[in-house]
């Protein structure tokens, strides 16, 4: 307190020495104001000097390793011409390129670490929804409660050349048994020349829009029917590499080619030995690749345009080619087209309101080998499956999203269709409503009207809760 009075007095003295206009007017009010200002200025100056001293001390500590480097320019002091009157103008702390400023805790971690959990609760007219209705691995799988996805996501810069990503998923099956899977673990180059980018490891193939997305990014509680049919319960992901090229054009246009082993349940339509050693009723051979041509190839092209300042369109075409395990020379081809459109007004707050439309259509040609030993005997035949889903999301109010998804899947007749949950005509209509209490949690209510040739009509209602802990990397558009 005494110091403050002293400061005040000394500043007043200093002020009285200045030919300030206040003296001429002689207004007590003005002098008082100036006294206050001078007082503040002095206080601030002390604070600022303390900061400068701290910064210099810090610099002294960091200067030792920096000394070896030549050509480090000297710090440029920020010159601030101090206005002569009413001058609370502290010297801004000088910034210099050789002086990394520590920001305390922020950004001090080497990677983002997050833990995200999805919990579903609901009921279905189907006794066992997982047997027929919800084939996806992260879909609600039973009446009552399901915990289909608890995911640990890690990402960060490995070094100046690579970024690393990992997704470790834990899930509970209908018997409440935990299982763990290494969903993704890959590195991605950050400094290849010629607009190229390399990805290697275990990762989701860049096929269409939803396949590479993790369940917590989905707009509905379950995966689209056609994706579950073409790519299986877990989506198309495998060990391999991918090279992508950003075309040097004025608009976004990207070509990519993925090459994978194409093996196992996560390559459902390819070299997949199947559950109990069968795929579409056929006993499988555990094929090993005869040559590089027996690997799984996934080319993709995508492009994007800003239709207006507020509307963006992203469209793509994808394919996947590879052998399958039903015969020694059997192959599978999958083709897909996807489109995503989003409107967000210029003055959106927190990302709301918005309207988005997403549609994907897929066609699969699967050469199924003959299996004479099966009962009934299965001929060699080509299974053709196709389908699409189309969904509209309307973020009608901050943190509220209403969605509607319509789906249709069908295929040609196959010899094993009567018992095959992955085939046959099916339609599903799903309205849903999502509320985001914050960016890190959500509550979703969804109704499914399900109609299938093999099971008739079913109704399901699901409530989903999500929470996310920690720092999660930013998502793509």
């Amino acid at each position: 307190m005494k110091l403050k009075i002293f400061v005040g007095l000394s500043s007043a003295l200093w002020w009285s020495l200045l030919p300030a206009p206040a003296q001429e007017t002689g207004e007590v009010e003005l002098i008082r104001k100036q006294l206050q200002q001078a007082n503040d200025a002095f206080q601030k100056a002390i604070d600022e000097h303390r900061k400068i001293i701290d910064a210099l001390n810090k610099r002294l500590e960091t200067i030792q390793p920096a000394q070896g480097r030549a050509g480090v320019p000297p710090p440029t002091p920020v010159t601030s011409a101090v206005p002569p009157v009413a001058a609370p103008s502290p010297q801004p702390q000088a910034w210099s390129p050789s002086q990394p400023i520590s920001l305390g805790k922020a950004g001090s971690a080497y990677m983002n670490i997050s833990f995200d959990t999805l919990l579903d609760a609901g009921w279905s007219t189907a006794r066992d929804p997982a047997a027929q209705l919800n084939l996806g691995d992260h879909d609600p799988n039973q009446r009552g409660f399901t915990l289909p996805n608890a995911e640990i996501a890690l990402d960060g810069a490995v070094d100046p050349y690579f970024k690393g990503f990992a997704n470790i998923v834990l899930k509970l099956d209908s018997q409440n048994e935990s299982s763990i899977e290494l969903e993704e673990a890959f590195l991605q180059s950050s400094s290849l020349p010629a607009n190229l980018q390399l990805k290697a490891g275990q990762f989701f193939a860049a096929f269409g829009r939803q396949n590479p997305q993790h369940p917590h990014q989905w707009a509905f509680v379950d995966s689209p029917l056609i994706l579950a049919r073409a790519f299986g319960p877990e989506g198309l992901r495998n060990v391999g590499g991918q090279l992508s090229w950003l075309m040097p054009l004025p608009f976004f246009s990207e070509l990519s080619l993925g090459v994978f082993n194409g093996e196992g349940a996560t390559a459902h339509s390819f070299r997949n030995p199947g559950e109990a050693g069968r795929v579409h009723g056929r006993e499988t051979l555990d094929r090993t690749p005869r040559g590089p041509g027996d690997l799984l190839f996934t080319p993709r092209w995508s492009t994007s345009f800003d239709l207006t300042d507020q509307q963006t369109l992203l469209a793509g075409a994808s394919a996947a080619f590879g052998p399958n395990d039903t015969a020694s020379h059997a192959t599978t081809q999958i083709y897909g087209a996807d489109v995503y459109w989003k409107w967000k007004p210029a003055r959106a707050h927190g990302g709301f309101p918005f309207v988005s439309w997403q549609t994907e259509g897929l066609y699969r040609r699967f050469e199924a080998g003959a299996d004479a030993a099966a009962a009934p005997a299965l001929p060699r035949e080509t299974l053709r499956d196709y389908g699409f889903y189309s969904q509209v999301l309307w973020g009608f109010k901050t943190r509220w999203v209403a969605g509607l998804r319509g789906e249709y899947v069908d295929g040609n007749n196959g010899a094993f269709d009567a018992e095959d949950v992955f085939r046959g005509q099916r339609t599903r209509l799903s309205p849903d409503l999502t509320w985001y209490p914050s960016e890190f949690s959500k509550l979703r209510l969804q109704y499914n009207y399900d109609q299938g040739k093999s099971f008739g009509t079913d109704h399901s209602v699901w409530l989903q809760v999500e929470f996310l802990l920690g720092a999660h990397g930013a998502h793509k558009f």
């Binding site: 922020a106 100046p160 976004f252 994007s304 963006t312 927190g350 558009f477």
Partner: protein
């Protein structure tokens, strides 16, 4: 004027060749070193305004966020990837302002010039004394920024620090034009210094007066100009207003006779209007981004001019 006869066939062929090389280069996306203009991509319009002042004719500036847009929630549009792919420099505010969208873009940009730590990646928060750095990270307190409040540029003294930072960085990237950058810095600093006194004086009569804001984006302005912008319509940062909380805000406004509510273009003006109707306060449209509200397209100094004068007017109106 070039005489017509100089335009002979030979030079025309050369011209044509050169033109086709240029066209080819443009098609292939190679930026020909015709003039050493730095291709600068800036995340927000306020930083862009200062970068323009410092870079002048030597830089070409592309701004990602639009003036009236919420800088925290810009869509990571694929075309931004193309812009970043071709850029020599990315200027960001840092301090987690763009954390929800810029990292995803940079990951896909395939441009090592913009790598973290490279001279072409400028984080303007470096060298700024950030306010409200949380001592503990706890999301039950709302959407807090671990690095501190990122809306620092609205303090003109921080603008000077950022300007100096940019001039330094531009010098490193384009030594040939360094003198121009430093001269532009001097001019910009002088323009702030010339105005600062006036701004301070315009708001001096209102020292300590409270102002309501939708979001806590004004602590640097408060600190510099002595007004108190510490009552928010959001109960916690990033959490939308609740009726209970608004009731409390209205109560406080009535008892303390608070008469001004700040609303930024991307925030819910209707909520502010409702509160204003209940309290007799004025809703003041303000922006931290040049072009965000009327008469601010001219750049940083004009933005501050508009902000200070409209605030002084609104606060002065209550005395009557």
């Amino acid at each position: 004027m070039i005489p017509q006869q100089l335009f002979n066939v030979q030079s025309f062929t050369i011209m044509k060749n050169r033109l086709s090389i240029l066209v080819l280069a443009a098609v292939l996306g190679i930026s020909p070193a015709l003039y050493a203009r730095l291709n600068v991509v800036v995340t927000t319009p306020d930083l862009a305004a200062i970068a323009r002042e410092i870079g002048g004719a030597h830089v070409e500036i592309t701004t990602l966020a639009r003036p009236a847009e919420d800088p925290h929630f810009v869509d990571a549009k694929p075309n931004f990837i193309v812009k970043l792919n071709k850029a020599d420099v990315i200027i960001e505010g840092g301090a987690e302002l763009e954390i929800g969208w810029l990292p995803a873009l940079l990951d896909q940009a395939r441009n090592s010039k913009l790598a973290a730590g490279a001279p072409g990646h400028i984080s303007c928060n470096e060298g700024i004394h950030l306010l409200e750095v949380p001592s503990t990270l706890d999301r039950s307190k709302g959407d807090i920024h671990a690095a501190g409040n990122p809306h620092y540029l609205i303090d003109p003294l921080n603008a000077k620090i950022v300007a100096a930072h940019l001039a330094d960085s531009f010098c490193k990237l384009d030594a040939a034009a360094c003198a121009t950058y430093q001269a532009n810095l001097k001019a910009f600093t002088a323009s702030i210094d010339a105005k600062l006194n006036g701004w301070l004086q315009a708001l001096a009569p209102f020292k300590g007066q409270r102002i309501v804001s939708y979001h806590n984006s004004w602590p640097y302005f408060s600190e510099r100009f002595g007004v108190k912008i510490d009552l928010f319509m959001e109960p916690k940062p990033g959490i939308p207003p609740t009726p209970t909380h608004l009731g409390e805000v209205i109560q406080t406004m009535k008892s303390e006779k608070i008469r001004v509510i700040f609303v930024e273009p991307f925030l819910n003006r209707r909520t502010a209007e409702t509160v204003a109707r209940n309290t007799g306060a004025v809703v003041l449209d303000v922006s931290q981004f040049p072009g965000g509200v009327k008469n601010t397209d001219g750049g940083y100094v004009q933005l501050l001019d508009q902000l200070v004068s409209s605030l002084a007017k609104a606060l002065g109106g209550q005395a009557r």
